[in-house]
Structure formats: structure tokens, C-alpha cells
């Protein structure tokens, strides 16, 4: 197990380096730069001020030098300062991560609690009415854009019914109930697509397991259909689902960008969007690094959980 962990960490390190290089390249080939963005269209026409700002921000140096400087800085744990606001990037990202993590956790919980029962019922009632309804629901969820669904939720629950506040953010530890209330609609919006995908996965995975020989063995012992389903089928069927959930975490952060914009949540997604608009190179690079680390950690955790529930891996 330890050797396995070391190998995983080594490959993770390689991925992080690759991501940082790619991030650097993408950012440098984007048209326009921070100086232009900061000065605005008018200001950028003033060549003198523009050049001065470029020098001040270090943008006049060759890309390799800039990358080298950046890496040297990052390995000491210093992510540098935002080109746009001048604030230290580390603390800034940490502060913006809190709402996003809350959003992602709530969306995941919502997805899983909705998708597993619907997927299982669909499989058990294969090609009968509940399955058709479940499939319709899943496909609708997959086809619904999260931001559009978010806006519809706001119109229904905030504008028409006035049950929920339309947007904004409250830290969870300051006012848990208020925070959950505010985050409910954004999490639902973020959860839509993933819920649909998850329903399909649970359904097909349960269907497959129900055809296995060991299910017939279980039935041949005289176990009731409920015991067969919950004791013998579900645990096997949920193995691939765990992997899917782990893999989807990265995509969830991508979705957070639009949802946070729609609901005015000061999270990482919004930060990324703003940073890209302002060509805030240092911030974009740091964000990509953080995202890469998050996805890698999630997949490592997934593997660990998987090995806990699948005995074939646990000791193998």
C-alpha cells in the first residue's frame, strides 16, 4: 500500500508540473496582456504608460525567464501577488475557496441522494413505467444548462414565490441556516447535469450486476428480493459510481464558474472568470495549479475509498 501511494504521488507530481507549463503557455498566447487590461482601451493607446506598466509588472521579460522566476517562487510556498489587485494570491484563493467548496459539497450530496435511488428504481423496474420516468428525468437533467436552471430557480423561488433570497453569500460558520438557504439554489443548479449522468451510471451498473451469476446464487438461497438487492447487488453496483463521482469533481469546479456568476457568489469560479478577463497571469496560473491539485487529491481519495469497499483491491 505504501509503495502504491508513493507511485501515485510521483505521478501526481509529474501532472502538476505539466499543468503548470501548459497554464503558462496558454496564458502567454492569449491576446492582450494585463497591462492593457488594467489601463483599459483608452489608456493602452498611451504607449509610454503602457510600456512603463509592462515593465513594472515584469511582462517585458522572455517567457522562460518568467516561468523560471515563478517556479522558484512557488516552490517556497509563495504564489506571488495578483497582477490585478496586488493582493497576495495564497490567502486570496483560500478565502475564495470556502464558498466554492461548500457549493461543491452541497451539489455532490444533492446529486448522490437524488441519483442513487432513482437509478436503482430505474434498474429494478427495467423498461417499465418507473424506468421510463427515471430515464426522462435523467436525460432532462443532462440537457439542462446549469446557469439557465439557476435563473429559472431564481425566477420561481425568489421572484414569484419569494421563498428564497435570490443571490449573495453568507459564510457557513457565521450563519449556518442562512448560508444553506442561500446556497440551495446554486447547488441545485450546479448539480443538474451531474445528477443526470449519475442516474444513468447507477442504472446501468445495477442492471449489469443484477445479471451476474452471484445474484442468481443469492436468489437460489431463498433470500428475499430486498436482501438480494441491498446486500448483494448494491455494493457491487456502486463501485463504478464511486469512481465517477471522484472524476467529476474537476468538472464540478468548471460548472461552479457560471453558477457563481449567476448567483453572485465570491468563489473560485468567479475569481477565475475575473482573472481571465483581466489577464491576471499570476492568478490564473495559481488557480490552475490549485485545480490540478484538487482533482489529483480527489482521484487519490477515490482510489482509497474504492480499495476500502472492494476486497479484491484491499489486499491485492
Amino acid at each position: 500500500m505504501l509503495g502504491y501511494l508513493m507511485r501515485r504521488l510521483a505521478s501526481a507530481a509529474v501532472v502538476v508540473v505539466l499543468v503548470s507549463v501548459i497554464a503558462f503557455i496558454i496564458v502567454s498566447v492569449l491576446p492582450g496582456d494585463t497591462a492593457a487590461a488594467l489601463l483599459g482601451e483608452e489608456g493602452a493607446r498611451n504607449a509610454e504608460r503602457y510600456e512603463a506598466l509592462r515593465q513594472e509588472l515584469g511582462l517585458d521579460q522572455p517567457i522562460l525567464v518568467r516561468y523560471g522566476n515563478w517556479v522558484a517562487q512557488v516552490v517556497t510556498g509563495d504564489l506571488g501577488r495578483s497582477l490585478r489587485t496586488g493582493e497576495a494570491i495564497g490567502p486570496a484563493i483560500l478565502a475564495r475557496a470556502v464558498p466554492t467548496v461548500q457549493l461543491a459539497i452541497m451539489a455532490l450530496l444533492i446529486s448522490v441522494t437524488i441519483a442513487i435511488p432513482i437509478g436503482v428504481v430505474s434498474a429494478v423496474y427495467y423498461r417499465r413505467l418507473p424506468d421510463h420516468l427515471g430515464t426522462l428525468f435523467a436525460l432532462t437533467a443532462i440537457a439542462t444548462p446549469g446557469f439557465w436552471f439557476g435563473i429559472m430557480l431564481i425566477i420561481l423561488f425568489s421572484v414569484t414565490l419569494r421563498w428564497l433570497p435570490p443571490s449573495g453569500y453568507l459564510p457557513f460558520f457565521q450563519d449556518p441556516l442562512g448560508s444553506l438557504q442561500l446556497m440551495l439554489m446554486p447547488s441545485l443548479a450546479l448539480a443538474t447535469g451531474f445528477t443526470g449522468v449519475l442516474i444513468r451510471q447507477v442504472r446501468s451498473s445495477v442492471l449489469e450486476v443484477l445479471n451476474e451469476d452471484y445474484i442468481t446464487t443469492a436468489r437460489s438461497k431463498g433470500l428475499s428480493p430486498t436482501t438480494v438487492l441491498f446486500r448483494h447487488a448494491l455494493r457491487n453496483a456502486l463501485l463504478p459510481v464511486v469512481t465517477l463521482v471522484g472524476l467529476q469533481l474537476g468538472a464540478l469546479f468548471g460548472g461552479a464558474a457560471t453558477v457563481e456568476t449567476v448567483f453572485s457568489i465570491p468563489g473560485l469560479g468567479r475569481l477565475a472568470v475575473d482573472s481571465i478577463f483581466f489577464r491576471d497571469f499570476t492568478m490564473i496560473q495559481a488557480l490552475m495549479l490549485v485545480l490540478a491539485l484538487t482533482v489529483l487529491t480527489a482521484s487519490l481519495l477515490t482510489d482509497l475509498i474504492y480499495s476500502r469497499i472492494d476486497p479484491r483491491i484491499r489486499r491485492g
Binding site: 451476474e212 452471484y214 442468481t216 446464487t217 438461497k221 431463498g222 457491487n236
Partner: protein
Amino acid sequence: MSPPLLEVRDLEVAFETHRGRVKAVDGLSFRLEKGEIIALVGESGCGKSVAVRSVMKLLPERTARYEAGSITLDGKDLLGLDDKAMQKIRGREIALIFQDPMSSLNPVLTIGQQIGEAIKRHQGGNRRQIAERTIELLRRVGIPAPETRLNAYPHEFSGGMRQRVMIAMALSCNPRVILADEITTALDVTIQAQIMDLLKSLVSSTGTAVVMITHDMGIVAGAAERVYVMYAGTVVETAATADLFARPAMPYTWGLLRSIPSLERPVDEPLVPIEGLPPNIAQLDGGCRFRPRCAYRRAICGQSEPPLAPAPDGAEGHLTRCWGFDPEIGWLRDTDWKKDLGDPATMAEISAAAAKVPCGRS
């Protein structure tokens, strides 16, 4: 006379598939007495597994149709029972052992859990009693150091050991009938004999009756008291084992017997496989179902299906479904099946027809 322990009569089972109705069992009958071992023998696809799964009502409910016939246990009808009532029969009265021990145990539950749940379901008891009973069962099927193996998972056992676990599971509630569906097919030849011996000694000590499914005539000879030869969903010949091997009375059985690899046979003498492919039961035309592959066929064979009737020279209870053994018109009664392989012209026709079929059935 008391009713047989298990009796299947004129059973017909069909499946609804997207290509229409597929008949898998077509007028099957057999009976099993207390403590008896019988064998159902036939080629792949002749309906053996469907037949034993029917007895347990384990066929997919959505697609399987029991179209005719009856299945009785001690005279009590099983086909009419609902699933709740069947649950009390499964595992307790009738147990099933499958072909592939690799896939028939649940990979995420320990074998202690998997054997224990059957005991708990039918006999109850607390954790300790169930564990003790499980250990005793594992010891009886020859698992070394069973106390230490309760918490092991299936993947930690070899194929032969897993099949022993399956046998322990089947025996766990002292069933009256065990259905053993090709339990040695997936195993190494050396292990096959061990498993068969184990099963035989266990059932003889407990008095459990066994329906053995196989396509291996060698296994039949060593284990079963009575044989039912199945072809295309029905029985084409049945006899006490010794009688069947001494005086087989049906060309299909001859084919099966010729295909047994034997020690006496010179190595360079080829096995004689049965020429042609098993028919699609949906396309039976009313004649003898083996006729397309039978080198002894005559005109009458295409006109009507022969009945399952007493073989003229066989012992009591020897039945065959072949016009060639009809007491009046039969032309095969004096045929020496080991020497006479049938009419050469007919054989050539069969080979030509078989060659025309691309690969497997369409």
C-alpha cells in the same frame, strides 16, 4: 405408491426476446426419487440450464414463460407458487450449484457471510451458532483450516476450493434435492474428479438426491443411477445408467457415446463428433428433431415425431424416442452402433448441409 421426490412433466418453457418467442424446453419430463442421483445429458443449448432454473423458478420473470407442464416436489405443485413461497423452497428444500465457481460467489462478501446467510434465513440461530455450523460445513467439503477461512473473500480461493465452498453452501440447510449444473466443467481435469467424488460421498451420507447436469458422458457413467438424454429441449432417451451404456437405443445417444474420449481407444483414432448443429427449437417441423443430423433416418422420420416409448430390447424403464426402435417398423434394433455409422450417402448429405451453415447458428 408415494409420489416421486421431484417430478417434471411435459414442461414447456419459452422466452420472449426481441427476435420473437424462443422455446428452450419443449415437453421435458423426468423424475427423481429420494437419495437418487440422475443425470441430464445433452449438447450445449439443449435446455439443461433452463430446465433446472425452472425447477427453482429462477428464470428472468420478465421474459420467461412456463407454457405447459408441471413441476412437483413430493407431489406439491411448484409452478403455481408465488415468489414468497418459492423463497422457502430455495436453499432449504432444493439447492443449486452452478457451473462457474469464479462468477457464482459475490466478490465483496466473505464466504462466511455467504454461507451464513442461507443458514440464518432458513434455520436461524445466533452469530456463534451460525459460524460454528459454517466451519463444520467447510470442514466437511475439505477446506483446510476452516476457522481461519470464514473471513476470506472468494478471490482468495482457487477455482476448485470455490466450488467446494459452493457445495458447502448448497448443503448448508440439508436440502432434499441438489441441482448441480455442470459443476465441474470450468475446473481442471484433476480437480473435476475430486469434486465429483466429494459430491457423491456427501450426498450418500446425507441422503440428498441430485440432478446432475452435464454434457460429459464420462461423468454420467461414474456418478448417475439414471440418465436422461436431452435433445432440443426434450428427452430423447432414458434408462438406468448401466442399461444405457450397454444397450443405447437412439442414434443421438450413440453419437454422444462415440464422442467419449476413452483410455482403450488408440490415440490415432479420432473422436467422432456429432455432425451438424443442434436445431433451432422454434423451427421444428413435426418430424423427429434429430433427423437433420441422423445418418440412419428414413422417410417416416420426417412425417411425425416419434413418441417416447419403451425400447424393445431394453430393461424396465428404458425409453427411447426413435422410429428405428419401434416394435413393429423399427430397423435399428439389430444395428451395431460401434461399427455401423449409418448410411454413407445420408452422412455425406449431412456434412454438406453442415458446411453450408456459416459459423454457429444465425
